[in-house]
């Protein structure tokens, strides 16, 4: 079943990559002084991409299990090495694709044309959008790696050039972390393909092929360190890249400084989407290709994820800079996603998948709000803000709804994912679920401190704070709508993704 049927014979997925790139090309041709034209070009290409992705989501057939991909496209690239241009979408990537398109649109809408070198800024944004979409759509591991690295470059410049504060330090730290992770992943990709080659005699980097022949056997480590399973080794290679990107405790220290330095449009995409790509990679590759290793490392990684929940929550409690506070809140929430993934059962993984969308929506809204506060107040320090609800009641109301979603209020979207994740975790490891529950209580604490500390009490300060403009309300409304809709009636989500998740090898053992 699907909402409607899209005509066949159209490379729908390639279009979602090409449209942002075409937009980037037009931006490149535009004169740098025509900042409004550049912004409109960016908005139009992001909007068309979003409409296209919505069409894909609407045309997606529900209930097609057994590792079935839709809108598949496959072109030969380097046939001798088994490398191809293979795209497809399934339940794991479908809604993330939508999140990707939505967040890029919002980010470009809030990008300020007075930004220096605005042309390059938008240009990099559109390239980044194509890269992140490519990560979600690639079914060939080399293709995936290319997109993964392609994402890094614009992101690095967006922080390093347009950032604030210790931007160079932040960008460089992020780069070092990421390169280490990427390198480990590259080695693992090559090794996976090599093992598959030795098993089948046919070179292939294709996910749909590799999943059929999970690696086995073990490796005698040098220096008498004992043996380790090949699958475990490969798992570590992939996981390192993804765990850094999420990030999972204790690989997170690039995060606060990177999020804090990044300008608001960048951090929306960075926190809202890129962190989710790490989580996506864990499900797509680690859970799918290395099910045995996923089970053997699951408890340990779930423990790290749970520590991250509590650690991020405690850190958020004492931050004085709102952007930093949201950065740690994000880390805490990502711990939930990690916990769901490593619970490695149906409800845990589905909870993690829906929470990826929820987290993207919520954290983007929170960072947008921090940006709106900073633009009006000239500061993000909690101590310099007070009682703003009196001068900006609409702002206060929308901020409150976002806060409630962030603290997981039942009836809004954050609860849906947290409930399923904790249920999945409870099935697998009760103590971790209980610890996550403490994280929920801490979230209520730090989120309300954040809201009340800036918008309640009296007298209002700083002076001159103003109410939301229409464009501000406009970018928040779609996110708020998603918070309510997913909270009240989320069944569209399992209807679409259930079949894919059930077919994951990690659940079939």
């Amino acid at each position: 079943m699907s909402w409607f049927t899209l005509p066949g014979g159209v490379p729908w997925l390639t279009l979602t990559l090409v449209i942002p790139l075409a937009g980037a090309l037009l931006v490149a041709l535009a004169p740098a002084v025509a900042k409004n034209v550049i912004k409109q070009l960016g908005i139009v290409s992001a909007l068309i991409t979003l409409l296209l992705v919505l069409a894909i989501i609407g045309g997606y057939q529900h209930g097609m299990g057994n590792l079935h991909f839709q809108f598949e496209e496959s072109l030969k690239w380097i046939p001798s090495a088994g490398i191809s241009y293979h795209l497809g979408v399934d339940g794991l990537s479908l809604f993330l694709l939508g999140l990707n398109a939505l967040l890029f649109l919002l980010a470009i809408v809030v990008a300020d044309p007075v930004t220096p070198r605005f042309k390059e800024f938008i240009l990099l944004f559109l390239i980044l959008e194509a890269a992140t979409a490519g990560i979600l759509l690639s079914l060939d591991l080399i293709l995936f790696y290319v997109f993964w690295e392609a994402m890094l470059v614009p992101l690095y410049f967006l922080i390093g050039v347009w950032g604030e504060g210790r931007r160079v330090y932040a960008a460089f730290k992020f780069l070092i972390y990421t390169v280490i992770g990427s390198f480990a992943m590259l080695v693992a990709i090559l090794a996976v393909a090599a093992i598959n080659f030795s098993q089948t005699g046919k070179p292939s980097f294709d996910w749909t092929q590799l999943i059929l022949h999970p690696a086995s056997g073990s490796w005698q480590m040098p220096l008498g360190l004992g043996t380790i399973g090949i699958q475990q080794l490969l798992f570590i290679g992939f996981a390192l890249a993804f765990l850094i990107k999420m990030p999972i405790f204790p690989l997170h220290t690039w995060l606060p400084v990177a999020y804090t330095s990044a300008p608001i449009p960048v951090v929306i995409v960075f926190a809202g989407l890129v962190s989710k790509l790490g989580a996506y990679g864990l499900v797509r590759f680690n859970l799918a290709l290395f099910p045995d290793a996923a089970h053997s490392f699951g408890p340990f990684l779930a423990l790290l994820a749970t520590i991250g929940i509590l650690y991020g929550a405690f850190m958020a409690l004492v931050q004085t800079d709102l952007k930093r506070l949201v950065a740690y809140a994000s880390m805490s929430h990502l711990g939930f996603i990690g916990l769901g993934i490593f619970a490695a059962n149906l409800l845990g993984i589905e909870g993690a998948l829906v929470q990826m969308i929820n987290h993207g929506v919520i954290i983007a809204a929170l960072f947008l709000i921090v940006g709106m506060i900073e633009r009006r107040a000239g500061t993000r320090l909690r101590a310099e803000l007070l009682g703003l609800a009196a001068v900006a009641p609409v702002f206060a109301a929308l901020f409150l709804i976002v806060s409630l979603a962030a603290l997981g209020l039942p009836g809004l979207n954050g609860f849906v994912g947290e409930f399923l994740i904790m249920l999945g975790a409870w099935t697998a490891f009760v103590p971790l679920a209980v610890a996550a529950g403490i994280g929920v209580i801490l979230a209520a604490w730090y989120v309300l401190r954040f809201y009340q500390g800036s918008f309640q009490e009296t007298p209002p300060k700083p002076a001159g704070f103003t109410e939301l403009r229409w464009v501000d309300t406009g970018v928040l409304i779609p996110l708020l709508a998603l918070m309510v809709v997913i909270g009240i009636s989320p069944n569209f989500f399992p209807a679409a993704v259930d079949a894919t998740v059930k077919a994951l090898p990690v659940l079939l053992r």
């Binding site: 160079v168 780069l175 990427s182 080659f197 220290t253 249920l423 409870w426 069944n491 259930d498 059930k502």
Partner: protein, 627 residues
């Protein structure tokens, strides 16, 4: 009936949305009547449901699917039986009175529309809580109640004390929510259902009195205790007095704190199956009833005294449902709703007359100045004290009788409840005699003004209820849910009645002696028991204890993580490693050499990759392939 259920929810939902979105644009009178009218309309629908339930109908209707995946199935379904019908009647009926009263009480507040929007949201959440036919939507309603109370307690958000009180209420309620969520997990994992019908039919598959069902019931109790302000999660309730007085009336009478009682009654099949957990409920209730009553004797803020009286009365209800006297607990819930709403609203009139002064020692002699409020408050006081033939008399006696006729620990809880009844009469008449007085002041120079009719009429209606509600056959109405209660002999009935009246009279006598007749005695006695009095007056120092044990260590830990672990340990290790590898990292310049260097790094990764591709296909990887 399929349509009536959603209509009951729809009325306050529409009211809430209208006021939240357009409230500031609408004229004030319209705002008030939309806010109150929405709940009044819901009451009309509830009456229609009542007529069908009286005809023997029930409802369990699914309207849409919330989440389905494997055997995890959560519908949105409404469950209407006599129990939930009684609840929605009280919520909408008493709620309507409170909202009409608010039109007058909040008349000059600049946040008028916001107030009514929140109140409608409150009623909506509470209705959802009692009408839901499954645990997930129960939790959603449950949390909605917590949210609404947060919004209303912190309604005057300019006040720091209100902001802190609101947050405290929310966080403590969240603790309860998490307990409920865990209970739902255990139910699902053991019985594979989350809807009531399935749950109630399968609960017998668990071993009776076993660990699983006991833990489930105790986790549910965590939620119930937090929401109903019972020990040990009660500390938010007195602080909740920061909200406007009608909010207190709504929280204490029609919604919120009664939710815990409803939960245990709704889950009575589970508690019947877990005797140890049920006994825990009873002990929590009995002890809280006594504990709160003792604090009530020492407070001087009129609303705080009423708040502790609520805690105490809810304790009675917990005691009742804990010993299996479910109908008695629900009966007391209903009579309490009348007299407690009345008491708060009458107190609100007094507070207005005294320009927001809430200290009972500044009041007194109100019979001439505030005649309606005086007489209605007296009716409420008599009812809560269990004066014969008033509503509270019947329902409280039923609980005490049920406890006394039980064997074992329940018997002692019954004795405790009897003593608490005496304390109740004492602190309520202390309040009444101090704040309202007994003598006729011939010449009152304070120029007190009685409240507007829109405030006094609802109070009068509730006063009538506080007298006659005891004659409503609630137990019979609920018998399809809880079965028929045992017949009570006339001797037992009147014997206990005499006993409890005697206890009440003793309480009254001491209140009269100390606060009307010989006030100097009160001073003398208080100095004689000074340490004990300080302990009670400071609410047994539980707030201070929680502050030392949870709040401060929590912050200390957070600061330690932030100042030491994050910066010095984790990041210190990372940066130290980085410095070791790349000494010149700090002088890094993006525009000059840096960019090249970064590209170099990426290219290095790429080059290594190419080397490895070649190596892989030539078979030079450092392990044997394929096992």
């Amino acid at each position: 009936m399929d349509a009536l259920g959603p209509l009951v929810l729809l009325a306050p939902l529409v009211g809430f949305l209208l006021l939240a979105l357009f409230g500031r644009l609408l004229p004030r009178p319209l705002v008030g009547w939309i806010g109150a009218g929405a709940v009044g309309l819901a009451f009309v629908f509830a009456l229609a449901i009542l007529s069908q339930v009286l005809g023997g109908q029930t409802l369990d209707q699914t309207y849409f699917t919330w989440w389905q995946s494997g055997d995890f199935f959560v519908p949105f379904n409404l469950y209407l039986d006599p129990l939930s019908t009684l609840m929605i009647l009280v919520i909408t009926g008493i709620g309507f009175m409170i909202l009409v009263y608010s039109i007058g009480y909040m008349g000059s507040d600049p946040g008028f529309a916001r107030f009514f929007a929140y109140m409608d949201l409150f009623v909506l959440s509470m209705l959802l809580l009692v009408m839901s036919g499954n645990l997930v939507w129960l939790i959603i309603g449950w949390a909605g109640v917590g949210l609404s109370s947060y919004l209303l307690i912190g309604f005057w958000y300019e006040r720091t004390s209100a902001v802190l009180a609101a947050r405290k209420a929310f966080v403590m309620n969240t603790i309860g929510d998490v307990g409920m969520v865990f209970a739902a997990f255990m139910i699902f994992l053991n019985l594979h259902v989350l809807d009531y019908r399935g749950l109630f039919s399968r609960v017998h598959l668990l071993p009776k009195g076993g660990t699983v069902i006991t833990v489930i019931c105790l986790l549910l109790l965590v939620g119930a205790v937090a929401k109903s302000a019972q020990l040990p999660l009660h500390t938010w309730l007195p602080d909740a007095m920061e909200g406007p007085t009608p909010v207190s009336a709504l929280i204490h009478a029609a919604t919120m704190v009664t939710a815990g009682v409803y939960l245990v009654a709704r889950m009575h099949l589970l508690y019947d199956w877990a005797p140890a957990a049920a006994t825990t409920v009873a002990v929590v209730g009995g002890v809280t009833a006594f504990f709160a009553a003792t604090i009530g004797t020492s407070q001087v803020d009129i609303k705080r005294i009423l708040a502790y009286s609520t805690m105490s009365q809810i304790g009675y209800m917990f005691l009742a449902v804990g010993i299996g006297a479910y109908a008695a607990g629900m009966f007391h819930f209903m009579t309490h709703a009348f007299f407690k709403a009345l008491l708060f609203m009458a107190a609100g009139n007094v507070i207005h007359a005294f320009h927001d002064d809430q200290d009972i020692r500044h009041m007194g002699n109100l019979r001439a100045g505030l005649p309606i409020t005086f007489w209605t408050f007296l009716i409420g006081t008599l009812s809560i004290s269990g004066f014969p033939l008033f509503a509270g008399f019947f329902s409280k006696d039923e609980i005490i009788r049920a406890a006394l006729s039980a064997a074992g620990s329940e018997f002692w809880l019954g004795i405790l409840a009897l003593i608490t009844a005496g304390l109740t009469a004492f602190y309520m008449f202390r309040l009444f005699l101090t704040a309202f007085g007994w003598e006729w002041l011939a010449h009152d120079e304070r120029h007190l003004h009685e409240a507007l009719p829109v405030q006094t009429i609802p109070v009068i209606i509730l006063a009538a209820g506080a007298v006659v509600a005891g004659y409503i056959p609630v137990a019979k109405f609920l018998s399809p849910v809880f079965g028929h209660a045992a017949e009570v002999g006339a001797a037992a009935f009147w014997g206990l009645a005499a006993l409890s009246v005697l206890v009440g009279l003793i309480g009254f006598f001491f209140a009269y002696l100390l606060y009307a007749r010989r006030p100097e005695l009160a001073v003398a006695w208080r100095t004689r028991i000074a340490p004990l009095h300080a302990l009670v007056e400071h609410k047994y120092y539980i707030d201070e204890l929680y502050d030392r044990v949870f709040v401060r260590p929590g912050f200390a830990l957070a600061r330690f993580l932030n100042d030491v672990i994050e910066t010095r340990v984790i990041d210190g290790a990372v940066n130290g490693l980085a410095d070791f590898v790349m000494v010149e990292a700090r002088e890094f310049r993006l525009i000059q050499t840096g960019r090249v260097r970064n590209y170099g790094l990426v290219m290095l990764g790429g080059a290594l990759g190419v080397v490895l591709i070649v190596a892989a296909f030539l078979g030079y990887l450092p392990f044997r392939l394929g096992g």
